[in-house]
Symmetry: C2
Subunit: 354 residues, 2 copies
DNA sequence: TCGCGAAATGTAAACGGTTACATCCGCTTA
DNA sequence: TAAGCGGATGTAACCGTTTACATTTCGCGA
C-alpha cells in the first residue's frame, strides 16, 4: 500500500526514492520479516525463499537503511575518533591503525579533529548518541580530559595518551623513551644535552621533559634551564630552538627534540648555520615517523608503535571483559646516524629507574 | 505508558538507559512535539515554555538520538570521505581540509581508506544509505572510477583527482605542474632530466608523466626511456630509483620525482652515495608537503593546494546549484635550493602549451 | 487420513524522533 | 458578546528496520 500510492502518474518521484525492505518484500511475495531475516542470517529460512529474496533484492538494488537499522538495533557499527588535530604523519598513522582494524570488523569511523576550544569539543562529545557505539579520544591537552567526566556513561570510551579515572586507556611510555635517549647520548660521552620541549599543556610533552630530566640526573649531568628550550611540536619551533643554540658561544654537544617534527626543523637550522650533524652536534628526535630514516643524516629517534596505538585502542574499546583496563606501550630507540653512533640498530628500552 | 512500564521494580535497567524526548516532554509537562520544536527552533513557542523545556532537558541531560532523527528527516549531517589510503601527509592534509569546513557547517565525517580490492570498496560505497548525505571520493586508481557508475544516483558525489562522467569533480593540474618543473630545469641548463614516476594505474602519476614528456619536448630535450624510472610514490621506490641513477656511468644532471615522498627517498640515496644536491644533481619533487622546505637542501617542489582540495570538494558537494560542476586547481612551483636555482621564490604556473 | 511438533513465515509493536494537521486558547473586532 | 483569528500546543502518522509472538505450513508417524 505504502509504496504504490503514487504508482500512477509521477513515476519519477523527487529523487528516484530508494527502495525499502517493504518494496523487496512485496516483490518477492514475502513479508518484511522474512526479508530482514535473509539479510541478517537470522532464524530458519527455506533455501528457496532465501535465494529468491536475495535475487529480488539484488535486482532492485536494495540496500538497508543504516539509520533505521541503528534505531531498531541500538547499534551503529560506527566508532568515533576524536583527535586534537588531523594534521601530520603522527595522527594520520593513528587513524590508519584504527581504520585497518575497524574495516576487518565491519566498523565505520567518524573522525574529528582540531578542537580549538573546549565548547566545540564538548559539542562533539555530546553528539554521539545514536551515532557511534564507542569513542576513542586522544586529548593530550591536559585540561581537556576533564571533559570526559560528564560524558554519558553508556558510551564506551578509550583514552589515548592520557589517564582519565574510570576509563580504559592506552599510553605511550614517554618518560621511558626520553630517558633512553639521554642514557644513550650520555654513553656516547655527551654531558651538555639540550632539550627542545613541546607545549606546556600537552601530556606527552610534559612526560618527555620529565624523562629527559630523569635521564640527566641519572647520567650525573647537570640540569640547566638554559639547556631547556621551549617549543610546540612544529618544525618551525624546532628550527627556532636550534637557531638559538647555534648562536651561543658555548654550545651543547647534543640536542634532543621532543618530537620528530621539531628535530626536522632543527636539522634544517643546523644545516643553514653550517653546523654539521652529528659531528658538531648530535641530534635525536621522538616518534620515529616514517621519513625519519630518510633524512640526512638519518634521524635517531624513539620509535613509538603508532599504528599499534590505533589498533590496540579499538581492541580495548570492543573488549567488554573488564580486564586489562589500561596499557602502556613500550618505545624503542632507533639509533641512526644523527646521534653520531654510526650504523642503524635498535635498542629495546629496558624498564627500570622510574 | 511506554516509559513507565517498568517504573516499579527494576528502576536501573540494563545501562541506565538514555533519556528520550518522551521523558523530557513528560517531565516538562508538554508534548513531544513541543520539545522537538524547542530543540529545532521551529514554529512559535512561548518564551516561558521554551526556557522550561530547555532547563528540564539540561537537567535530565537529554541528547537527541542521531539515528532517530536521521530516519525521520532523511538527513544524517554526515559526509563520507573515501580515500585510497589514509597514510602520509598528503591524505592527512586532504582530510583536514574537509574537516575544517565540515565542522563549521556542523557536519560529521566518516572516513575510510586502504581499499585493497574492488569488492571491498564496492561494499563501502553501498553502505552509505542512511549513513551519509554525500560522498567525497578520491580514487586515482583508474579502474576504480568505474565503481562509481553503479552508485545509487540519489547520493551526491564529488570526485577528487579523477574524472567520472556525470559527477562533479576537482582535479589538480598535474600535467601543468610537471611541465613547469621541466621548463624550470631546462631554463637552468639541464637537458638530461630523469623522471621517477608513480604507479602505472594512478591517474595523477600518469598525468605527471605526461606533463614531464610534454615539457621535455617543449624544451627540445630528447625523451629517453632510460631516463624514466618506475616507482610507486613511496620513499623506498624513490630511494631505489636514485640508486640506479647514481650507479650509471653517464648520469642525468637532474631528477624529477613524481611526488615528494619519492624525492625524499632519492635525496637520502644521493647523500649515501656521496652525490651532492644540487651540485652533482638537481632534484625536484611534487606536492610540496609541509616538510619539503625543511629538508637539506630545501626541496623544490610543485605546490598543490591540498587543504583547498578538501575544502573546495565539500563546497562543491553541498552546492546544489548545478553550476560549476568541475574545477581544476592550479599548482605553483616552489623554487628552493634542491634544484640549484638559489633562493626560495614562487613561480605561478602560467597556462599554455597544453 | 489425522494429528502433532517443528520449521517457516507473517503481524505488528517497538526504536526515537519530526511534522502535517487538528485543537485549544486568548484577543481583537464588529 | 460572539465570531474570527493567529499563536501555542497536542495528536498521531510516519521514517525503515528488527523481533517477540502468533500463525501457517510441512513432514511424518500412528
Amino acid at each position: 500500500m505504502r509504496s504504490q500510492a503514487d504508482s500512477s502518474g509521477n513515476s519519477k518521484r523527487r529523487h528516484a526514492a530508494a527502495v525499502t525492505i517493504h518494496d523487496v518484500a512485496e516483490r518477492a511475495g514475502v513479508s518484511v520479516a522474512t526479508v530482514s531475516r535473509v539479510f541478517n542470517d537470522k532464524g530458519p529460512i527455506r533455501e528457496a525463499t532465501y535465494q529468491r529474496v536475495l535475487a529480488v533484492a539484488e535486482r532492485m538494488r536494495y540496500v538497508p537503511h543504516a539509520a533505521a537499522r541503528s534505531l531498531s538495533t541500538r547499534k551503529t557499527s560506527t566508532i568515533g575518533v576524536v583527535l586534537p588535530e588531523l594534521h601530520g604523519e603522527f595522527f594520520s598513522e593513528v587513524i590508519r591503525g584504527i581504520d585497518v582494524s575497524a574495516r576487518s570488523l565491519g566498523l565505520h569511523l567518524i573522525v574529528s579533529g582540531s578542537h580549538s576550544d573546549r565548547e566545540e569539543m564538548s559539542a562533539v562529545l555530546r553528539a554521539v548518541r545514536g551515532r557511534v557505539d564507542g569513542l576513542i579520544v586522544m586529548s593530550p591537552d591536559l585540561d581537556a580530559t576533564t571533559l570526559l567526566r560528564d560524558l554519558p556513561d553508556y558510551v564506551p570510551v578509550v583514552v589515548l595518551n592520557a589517564l582519565v579515572e574510570g576509563r580504559p586507556s592506552i599510553t605511550i611510555d614517554n618518560a621511558g623513551g626520553a630517558r633512553a635517549v639521554v642514557r644513550h647520548l650520555a654513553a656516547l660521552g655527551h654531558r651538555r644535552i639540550a632539550f627542545a620541549g613541546g607545549p606546556e599543556n600537552n601530556g606527552d610533552a610534559v612526560q618527555r621533559r620529565r624523562g629527559y630530566r630523569a635521564g640527566m640526573r641519572a647520567a650525573g649531568a647537570e640540569i640547566e634551564s638554559s639547556l631547556e628550550l621551549s617549543g610546540n611540536f612544529t618544525e618551525d619551533s624546532g628550527y627556532d630552538a636550534a637557531k638559538k643554540i647555534a648562536g651561543r658561544s658555548q654550545r651543547p654537544t647534543a640536542m634532543f627534540a621532543a618530537n620528530d617534527a621539531m628535530a626536522i626543523g632543527a636539522l634544517s637550522a643546523f644545516n643553514e648555520t653550517g653546523m654539521r650533524v652529528p659531528d658538531d652536534i648530535a641530534l635525536v628526535g621522538f616518534d620515529d615517523i616514517p621519513i625519519a630514516r630518510f633524512l640526512s643524516p638519518p634521524l635517531t629517534s624513539v620509535k613509538v608503535p603508532i599504528a599499534d596505538l590505533g589498533r590496540r585502542s579499538l581492541d580495548l574499546l570492543l573488549d567488554t571483559s573488564k580486564t586489562k583496563r589500561s596499557e602502556t606501550l613500550k618505545t624503542s630507540l632507533m639509533v641512526r646516524q644523527s646521534c653520531g653512533a654510526g650504523r642503524t640498530r635498535t635498542r629495546q628500552n629496558e624498564k627500570g629507574d622510574s
